[in-house]
């Protein structure tokens, strides 16, 4: 789906002599770089937050285990902690681990979606007639 603003932009680019291929390439590279950016943000956020989140989960489980009176709506963290506490006694060295495979799969999936998601607009782009730009809004 092309929103109206983009459709106008495509018409203008065609009217001033840009080819279908060129416009499609431009739009696809735009969406691919957005995908990369999104993946990067996701990875960084994941890497930075994984450890604190684990800590919160683990420490709340420890405290809740040791001082049940302080749970006070400890939420998911608290409850999970209880489960872990029941199953295991030492959980101090618990780490969040993300393997490279998972990152690669995620990236590949995102790229496939971005490319398929661009093929459809590409087809729509080729259908925009440059003479449309002479019609008023």
């Amino acid at each position: 789906m092309i929103v109206r603003e983009r459709r106008k932009e495509i018409g203008v680019l065609k009217a001033i002599g840009s080819s279908n291929i060129k416009i499609v390439t431009q739009f696809i590279s735009e969406s691919v770089s957005l995908t990369f950016l999104g993946t990067l943000v996701g990875l960084v956020a994941g890497a930075l937050l994984a450890s604190p989140i684990m800590n919160v989960l683990v420490s709340s489980s420890l405290t809740s285990g040791q001082q049940p009176e302080r749970i006070m709506g400890g939420g998911i963290g608290g409850r999970m902690g209880m489960v872990i506490m029941n199953g295991q006694s030492t959980i101090r060295n618990l780490n969040a681990v993300v393997s490279y495979n998972i990152i690669l799969y995620g990236l590949a999936a995102a790229l496939v979606i971005a490319i398929i998601g661009s093929a459809i607009p590409a087809w729509l782009i080729s259908k925009v007639r440059p003479s449309e730009v002479l019609r008023g809004e």
Binding site: R129, L134, G136
Partner: protein, 223 residues
């Protein structure tokens, strides 16, 4: 230089056929400023679209600088639009998310001009259309209508086209600003030796042009 023979464009809508351009013939010398006047729906935009190869004629012939564009394959038409035609629209039609300078650079990017060179020419062109240098990096939404139209004119001139086609370039502007834009177009046509064909509603503008055509029901009458 520009020669049109018995040009026709029909649109089919349902059972009815509209003769939007109905047997237009004309000859225009290089460097002239031509006005086209006509009521809404008379075929002005359709005629410009044919001259600028935005649309294909149903029949007839358009010849520019000895080249017959009505016979060109699509691929050639793209480079024809890119290199020999400059368009100026009523609603400016600048690309919204890039600066004025970058808008003027686009046509030159399409011809593969090196970045430094096209940046320099874009700057020169913007100065030539009297856009203050401190506004060159603004996005179109932060420019007034008249300023946006100046940018559009600079963009139209970027690749030194033989022909500039302007569809009511002053239609969205107040009288005074509109007059300035018209004068600018005319001045530039002389400097750059470009032919300009402008659709207008303004009798005054028409009076000051080299040739005036009236169009009615797709037919052209020279004044």
């Amino acid at each position: 230089m520009l020669k049109v023979e018995n040009l026709k464009k029909q649109f089919k809508s349902g059972d009815t056929i509209i003769n939007a351009v109905d047997g237009v013939s004309l000859e225009i010398e290089e460097g002239s400023f031509v006005s086209i006047i006509g009521k809404s729906g008379s075929g002005k935009s359709t005629l410009l679209a044919l001259l600028g190869a935005l649309d294909k004629a149903t029949s007839g012939k358009i010849e520019i600088g000895g080249k017959e564009i009505t016979k060109m394959p699509d691929r050639k038409l793209i480079s024809y639009r890119r290199e020999e035609i400059g368009f100026v629209f009523q609603n400016y039609n600048l690309i919204p998310n890039i600066s004025a300078l970058e808008n003027v650079m686009i046509p030159m990017e399409l011809t593969g001009m090196p970045k430094a060179k096209r940046k320099e020419r874009a700057r020169d062109l913007l100065l030539e259309v009297d856009l203050d240098e401190n506004k060159h990096l603004r996005k179109p939404s932060r420019l007034s209508g008249g300023e946006q139209q100046r940018v559009a004119i600079a963009r139209a001139l970027a690749n030194k086209p033989k022909l500039i086609l302007a569809d009511e370039p002053t239609g969205n502007l107040d009288t005074e600003t509109g007059k300035m834009i018209d004068d600018l177009l005319k001045k530039l046509a002389k400097i750059e030796k470009t032919t300009i064909i402008a659709v207008t509603h303004d009798q005054d503008v028409a009076k000051r042009s080299d040739i005036v055509f009236h169009i009615k029901d797709g037919k052209l009458v020279k004044e």
